[in-house]
Amino acid sequence: MNQSVTQEQLIIPANFQYLPAVRNFIARIAAKYRFTKSELNALTISVDEAITNIIKHGYGNILSGSITMNVNVKNDRLVVELIDQGKSFDPNQVGDPNIPHYVQVRKKGGLGIFIIRKFMDDIQYFTADHENTLRLIKLRNNVSLYSPIVPINSLFKRLKEKFQFLTRKATSISLKETGTFL
């Protein structure tokens, strides 16, 4: 069920002017693999916001950087990996904005990551050999968690996965707080 069906790749210079090209790339994949409108929308805005953050915070003033985008289309999930060689910027370390406060003061930043968190089911980030990988995971809508026709073992599997995401996140934060490096 979790086998990779296919992978698509796009490599772009780390420049905002390539954001429309990224959106077009996702739209083409969505048409090819018949994503739902909701999946297309979630991936488009999440990848757009994530790449914006990599360019802004990861590369900053470095103009020669690049971003590799791998899209894995699986039966039960869509996985997008964004790989860069800029400064590490883990979106999981950024808290959610307080929306009423945000609207009052319009503090810059934070809204893009908040949007990604709302649209994606899991966000993973790791750095190795001077390379950062941001993994965005969207569980597919074709098997609804709440549908009465979902087989009980499938429902249990998805609940277990959701629980594992939360547990992993909590463990990661806890270890970071105690100074342990994962």
Partner: protein, 110 residues
């Protein structure tokens, strides 16, 4: 992105066409600030032809909301397609903005 401004007696309607993203949102921001500087404090934004909006577009609208509120005016959005509506709803910004189905209902009471 293109913006056409339709000035009415008590409000201005901004008809935006295309993607509102990091590139184009400064243009929308300039247009909104120019209208407010000309004492146009009731603004309606027609989303019929808005194909995409990212967080920079949302931030521009938040600034517009602050400007209109500060001047006792109104900012109303209408005809949002589902993808854009999802951004507002998931980020709970639909509770902050006045969102309408169509122009007629958005104009009501202005």
């Amino acid at each position: 992105m293109e913006i056409a401004v339709d000035k009415r007696q008590n409000c201005a309607i901004l008809k935006i066409k295309g993607d509102v993203d990091l590139y184009s949102s400064p243009q929308a921001r300039s247009q909104i600030i120019a209208l407010v500087n000309n004492k146009q404090f009731n603004l309606l934004v027609d989303f019929t032809d808005v194909t995409y909006m990212d967080s920079s577009g949302v931030a521009t609208l938040v600034e517009a909301l602050q400007l209109t509120n500060k001047n006792k005016g109104k900012l109303r959005l209408y005809k949002l397609r589902q993808a854009i509506r999802d951004v507002f709803e998931l980020s709970r910004l639909d509770k902050v903005f006045d969102i309408y189905e169509d122009e007629q209902s958005a104009l009501h009471g202005i």
